[in-house]
Amino acid sequence: MAVGRRDGRAGQDVLRRAGEASVLILISLAGGPKHGYALIQDIKELAGIELGPGTLYGALDRLERLGLIEPLPAEDRRHPYRITAPGAAALRVHLDAVERVSAAGRLRLQLGGI
């Protein structure tokens, strides 16, 4: 079940319920293709979150099924992944949505004088 413009879900935040790990993986892959270990290291630097390897592979499989990432030819025993065009579009939509919520939250804090 791949996400794309064909199925009429373009513009919808498909990552809303995908989980934090999936979003962090997409953000990491937006900087270039990476394999599992490189992803864990990059996400640790980027967000200060250490993804467990079981969580990582679960999220990679889910994102691949959705067509948001794709595997590249294996290097030795490692399988690098890269973000696809629908993946980049989905990440953009999700980050826009997060930004809107974040801005609203900041405004309410400001107005409430908290």
């Binding site: 394999h35 270990y37 864990i40 467990g52 390897p53 079981g54 969580t55 592979y57 399988h79």
Partner: protein
């Protein structure tokens, strides 16, 4: 835990994944675990993460896997939990068991197997496919 024992633990946990997953990620997952252990991540936390991942992998419905297989896995897990709960309950204090045996029935009619309905309360009988039971 030394590296060889940690590697054996991870290998054992990786065997919990479905064969399809192991064919695809097995070697890479073992190598990733070795790298993380070398970086100082505790082997136990890596094993736990893979174990949780394996459980999710079995329980997530896939296009190629029938929903009944998932239901069977859930049922088996529930049965295991029930058996464990039953064993725990049976290992409770013996005093509680003897007290409940000595206590007479409060509302039981002589000769009747179960409690009688409260006075003034209508007895409802539900019949499903020829079987009747009292409420």
């Amino acid at each position: 835990m030394d590296e060889s024992r940690a590697a054996r633990l991870v290998q054992a946990v990786l065997r919990c994944y479905p064969a399809r997953w192991r064919r695809r990620h097995g070697h890479e997952a073992a190598e990733l675990a070795a790298l993380l252990i070398r970086d100082g991540t505790p082997a136990g936390s890596i094993a736990w993460s893979y174990l949780a991942g394996a459980a999710r992998e079995w329980l997530t419905p896939r296009p190629g896997r029938r929903l009944s297989a998932v239901a069977c896995a859930l049922l088996a897990a529930a049965c295991l939990l029930g058996v464990s709960g039953g064993l725990l309950a049976s290992a409770g204090p013996a005093r509680a068991a003897s007290t409940s045996q000595a206590r007479p029935r409060a509302h039981g009619r002589p000769g009747s197997p179960g409690p009688a309905p409260a006075p003034g309360r209508p007895q409802v009988i539900i019949r499903v496919a020829g079987h009747g039971r009292s409420r």
